[in-house]
Amino acid sequence: MRRAALILVPYVWLLVLFLAPFLIVLKISLSDAALAIPPYAPTLKDGIAALIRELDFENFVFLTEDDLYWKAYLSSLRIALISTVLTLMVGYPIAYGMAKAPDEWRATLMMLVILPFWTSFLIRVYAWMGILSNEGLLNQLLTWLGLISEPLIILNTTTAVYIGIVYTYLPFMILPIYAALDRLDASLDEAAQDLGCTRTQAFWLVTIPLSRNGIVAGSFLVFIPALGEFVIPSLLGGSGTLMIGKVLWEEFFNNRDWPVASAVAVILLLILVVPIVLFQRNQQKQQEAEQ
């Protein structure tokens, strides 16, 4: 009885916070846009019969007819993928350094990684606008150092989006990798060296494979939210940065077409299901391995 109740809790949670909103979005994606409050038809007020009769997949067909949408999905996938790799390249050495640091430093280092969360995400992104703009801190510094004569144009380009995503999601990469490295038995590394590995070989052949779970977890934690990212591309990105989050916003706000916006969101969710399932599997394997 108690066991059933315990299992019930996460299911109710999923039902209320995931399935119900998803069904609402799905329903809107099958409706037609209208100039009314709310701006689509039919609604529940029209009765269940009308609802069933008038819902159709027209909006999904529309998405296939215009190359904008799949280009935006592809471009988002590319940006999310590149950002994830960059975050890993920056995050891994930091996590490695933290794991190798003396015990008394670790709490402080951990604190430093989490510290940025104390300031609003939006303010930190705005701070990057101040750093990267033409007359911003970075360009002033480089000009002062005599490294450049013309300001570097970084803000409002895709480069700035990468910087923003890497910066924002770095803690999500560092923490799981650190957790994996922290648990690593240092004697394995020593054994590898005793058996003839150089330090570099030991790192690539022993440390990296053993921290694989941390790398996978960190990568998914960065990739999944980066794919649907809206705030960073809209603040730091330029007009050429095509991301599905922005397309969705335009459908919703500029076209006032909630049904098409919902259809875009439903497909984004379907695309996300793949990495989420992979992530889930990885977690499960890890748990089984630990048992």
């Binding site: 846009a33 100039l35 009314a36 409050i37 709310p38 701006p39 215009d66 190359d67 904008l68 280009k71 935006a72 703009s133 033409n134 007359e135 013309e150 144009i153 409002n156 330029g238 007009s239 050429g240 940065t241 095509l242 397309v247 335009e250 919703f252 706000f253 500029n254 076209n255 006032r256 077409d257």
Partner: protein
């Protein structure tokens, strides 16, 4: 300071709570009022004023059409007002509660009739034009002393834009403002509702889009004032605010505003009361407060936009009433055009074209 300036999301969350003290919630454009007026309203009426801001009509419309926005007073522009009236988003004003309506200016009221034909739903707050803001020094440096700063050619001729590119050009992220301007540039009717005619501006805009640093509807005020960009296609008062901020900062940046000689869009921002406003009585008090001649003058003196209030004109400072960029002379007024809302099919075509222009896809 009792009033709060909040992000939209936070305000929506707070709205769920029951109001104990009497409150009025106003949703206005960003940088669009002298904030001391908000304190004055609270002192005069004893009503708590919750003041929240937005920077795009689309955002406002989405909240209104979702229903239950929780706002008592909102400020849509003309074409949006018209569409929202059709959607049933507003309640009729009770003019008995608005004695100060006698202060309003018939010239503007008549033009507003295009959007609110019966004049029952809205009062004009501010009006202005969409034009070009330039960093005079830098533009002359790049294009020479005879740079066509008063012409749309400055921003629609790729030759000019290529030279200005490195210095930075911002455009409003508002197809309903930029497309009419491009139509005026190529000599078509800026108020065209025909997708074939509207399509003619696509090559014009596509040619200059790579040189536009950003399409955004509020960042250009600071960017112009700080000297981060050279040119912005934006709203008159915003550019004049940038001019003022630059002058105050004394940073050597000189900003000027031009309503293009090929014609400029004249727009109206209007106050209306949503149909589901929680406190319509307080909303009327706020409208009446704003229509007070001295209050309206204070707002215009602060934001550098013209208003639709005749009686306020005697309280306007010379900088505002005497500046033809704000209160255009008769000849310029003649040269201003207005636009009508797009129907959903044309709107989709326009948005699609806009995305294509901006992203190349």
């Amino acid at each position: 300071m009792k009033y709060r300036i909040l992000g939209g999301v936070a305000a929506a969350a707070l709205m769920a709570g029951a109001a104990v003290a009497e409150e009025v919630r106003v949703y206005n454009w960003s940088d669009y009022i002298d904030e001391s007026l908000l304190e004055k309203f609270e002192a005069e009426t004893g009503i708590d004023l919750i003041y929240d801001v937005f920077d795009s009509n689309e955002l406002l419309e989405t909240k209104l059409l979702a229903g239950g926005s929780g706002y008592d007073v909102v400020v849509p522009s003309g074409t949006f007002l018209q569409r929202q009236i059709t959607a049933g988003a507003f309640q009729k004003l009770d003019k008995a509660q608005l004695p100060n309506i006698a202060n309003m200016w018939d010239v503007i009221e008549n033009r507003l009739m295009k959007y609110d034909p019966t004049g029952e739903y809205a009062i004009n707050y501010m009006w202005g034009t969409t034009g070009i803001g330039v960093n005079v020094g830098k533009v002359k440096e790049l294009l020479g002393d005879d740079a066509p700063m008063d012409s749309l050619a400055l921003v629609f001729d790729p030759a000019n834009m290529e030279k200005l590119q490195g210095c930075g050009v911002h455009f409003l992220d508002a197809p309903a403002e930029i497309i009419p301007a491009a139509l005026a540039y190529i000599g078509e009717d800026p108020d065209s509702q025909d997708l074939d005619v509207i399509g003619k501006v696509e090559p014009v805009l596509t040619a200059i889009a790579p040189f536009v640093q950003k399409f955004h509807s509020s960042e250009y005020i600071n960017a112009l004032a700080n000297g981060d960009i050279c040119v912005a296609v934006g709203w008159s008062g915003d550019i004049l605010q940038a001019r003022d901020r630059a002058a105050e900062a004394d940073n050597g940046v000189e900003i000027a505003y031009y309503a293009p000689k090929e014609g400029a869009l004249m727009w109206f921002d209007n106050m209306a009361i949503p149909v589901d406003a929680p406190n319509p009585a307080a909303a009327h008090k706020f409208l009446n407060f704003i229509m007070d001649a001295q209050n309206m003058a204070a707002a215009s003196n602060y934001v550098y936009y013209a208003n639709g209030n005749k009686a306020s004109q005697e309280f306007l400072v010379e900088d505002v009433i005497g500046d033809t960029a704000i209160y255009p002379d008769a000849a310029t007024l003649e040269n201003l055009y207005t636009t009508s809302p797009y129907d959903p099919k044309v709107q989709r075509g326009v948005t699609r074209m806009w995305t294509k222009i901006k992203s190349g896809t």
